[in-house]
Amino acid sequence: MRRELSPAQQSLANEVDAVLYRAVQASGHRELFAMLGSEKLLAVHYPRRYGGRGLSLSEQAAVAEAIGMRGLPDVVHLVTVHAVGGAILAFGSSPQRSRWLPEIAAGRLFASLLLSEPGAGSDLTRIETMAEPSGDSWILTGTKTWSLHTDWSDLALCSVRTSDGVGSGRYGGISLFLVELAAPGVKLIEVPRLASPPYFQVDLREVRVDAGALIGPLHRGWPLLPTIIGFERWGFDYLSRGRLWLRTAAAECGRLPERAAAAMKADLVRLGQALDNARAVAFHAAYHADGLDMDEIVVAYAKLACGRAAQSVAHWIGQELLPALGGQIDGAAAVTLQAAVAEAPELTISGGPVDLQLDLIASEFPIGRALR
């Protein structure tokens, strides 16, 4: 049993900190990612020939956490490096890996997932986007939704129907393609949300992709999706946000009258404990990954614990702290705390709703065995 980061993990986290510390204040997020990429710190679990360091997923977890703690948009990192990059690494062809992974690892290319569709929510089998063969190419037509930071992205991993799936149920006939978002026929439509940044709807109108853009087997892309989404679901992005919110909240508590601040102490300890426990489970899930494969039940615990711990912090900020502060807050702290309140509901929805995680956890016999 190891309760804390290993020396190797801690060293990587320190490297991330050092790079970001050296960055000039004015550097934008894209530049910061590129600086991390130039030091091979964005995707340390990729093989060296693809721009990584050939390390384990648990070491990458320490990097992901450090990036999030520094306030970089960890969703970008998670989706680009883990979900899309992980899909290419695990299921892509050698030419696909050589073409895309070094760019991703260098922080020069960002990517999105285009899986959900209007009315489908988290049911990723309910897709109507079609891909029709056309010579050596495929023509994609349909609409994808709930995609974040898509305006950053150059590339997307898109699920489509390549056959009607007759005879193979709703899971059959689904294929995965890499789509370059600058291609003719791709249109991004901003969908405002309470929390920033906005979602994007992505319309695909007769978008041509070549046959080499297929990831995994034709018509049988569904079995790949749990793994790909699993990369996204382990919860580190929630943790880093939750810890940032709690740190900001604790500092603001110090501005309250002594009696009011004292009343908050127990809550701060409780919320911090929940984040720390969730963090331990998330690192445990990464530690036991077999290459890129993680135990889906342990990941369900991690995702649920991380999302809920961060959500509890956000709820507490909205219910207790902000009313106690009575509007006596401004500047960066106000932005951070109000973002927490706005984002709270999504923390147990994005990356798969709570129901899916609970289904997985309840499927064990005896229940609870995965974490004992």
Binding site: R3, A266, R270, N277, L304, A362, P366
Partner: protein, 293 residues
């Protein structure tokens, strides 16, 4: 981070499951530990090293899951804790033989005796006090003494581990029951609301265990006296309660009166008396953190 136990931890758990389960209900704490084969370890006999706090937590979780009486086990552990690890300076290498004889003499003389008080200030300034153990003469410790605070914290954490064990027993009973009972033509477990209720309790329990292990594992002492220890205890008490409530739901109207559920339900609630209520524990944790700052 890796929450998996090493082979020694797994072997310890296996030994408890195999042997403590067959100990009669009337067996004393010493008898149970004898049966498990822990006595030589407990008394640092021969080449054995004394158990660390993590091992004690593993033992107490298993004892809770097996439904053993807490008071008996706790008195033995606390006896050893206070008289060995504090009084004897935790130096088994130099005093193992003497200590083994010392323990044996007191056991045979019926001196498994300890009275211990713990103060747990709440925000209202109230104090809770408890007495652990069973006898007549040994030591009275006040919460002010640094040594007693360490002993009290170790005791609290092992009791919390026991609460997790009780919760686990509840969850296992609940899952068995939900697999057998039929409602509306299908097994209770096949109803999503039931499955999710059990999963929620399992998550609560797993996180509570993580909190205990984080406090107990590896470097024991720096964690003692820390506000996180009280936070971990609060989580464990809460988890035991959550699991007991989930389990009772599986028994329908029979609820807490079903013989299978009576002991775990009431024991889970009894842990609030042993450890303190979760709210009081959180408040004490907040006070400790404030004091540390």
């Amino acid at each position: 981070m890796n929450l998996s136990l090493d082979s020694a931890g797994r072997q310890l758990i296996a030994a408890i499951r195999d042997r403590a389960a067959i100990a009669p209900a009337s067996a004393s704490g010493w008898d149970v530990f004898d049966l498990i084969g822990l006595t030589p370890v407990l008394t640092a006999d021969g080449d054995s090293q004394p158990l660390g706090l993590l091992e004690w937590c593993l033992i107490f979780e298993e004892l809770g899951a097996l439904g053993r009486d807490l008071a008996q086990m706790r008195s033995v552990r606390t006896f050893l804790d206070v008289f060995v690890w504090e009084s004897e300076g935790r130096d088994p290498g130099s005093s193992a033989e003497a200590f083994a004889g010392w323990v044996a003499a007191r056991r045979s003389a019926g001196h498994a005796t300890l009275s211990m008080r713990r103060s747990l200030p709440s925000s209202a300034g109230q104090e809770q006090a408890w007495h652990a153990a069973v006898s007549t003469a040994a030591a009275e410790l006040s919460a002010e003494a640094p040594a007693s605070r360490m002993s009290v914290d170790r005791d609290l954490l092992t009791c919390a581990a026991y609460a997790v064990g009780v919760g686990r027993r509840c969850l296992e009973i609940a899952q068995d029951r939900a697999g057998e009972r039929v409602l509306g033509g299908k097994r209770l477990l096949e109803h999503q609301s039931t499955a999710h209720r059990l999963a929620e309790a399992a998550v609560c329990l797993a996180l509570a265990r993580v909190g205990i292990w984080r406090c107990a594992g590896g470097r024991d002492e720096p964690q003692l006296g820390d506000h996180r220890l009280l936070a971990a205890v609060a989580d464990a008490v809460m988890a035991g309660l959550a699991c007991s409530r989930a389990a009772v739901q599986m028994f329908g109207a029979a609820g807490t009166s079903d013989p299978v559920m009576t002991w775990p339900y009431h024991t889970a609630h009894g842990m609030t008396a042993v450890c303190g209520s979760p709210r009081a524990l959180w408040e004490s944790a907040g006070d400790r953190q404030g004091g540390a700052a």
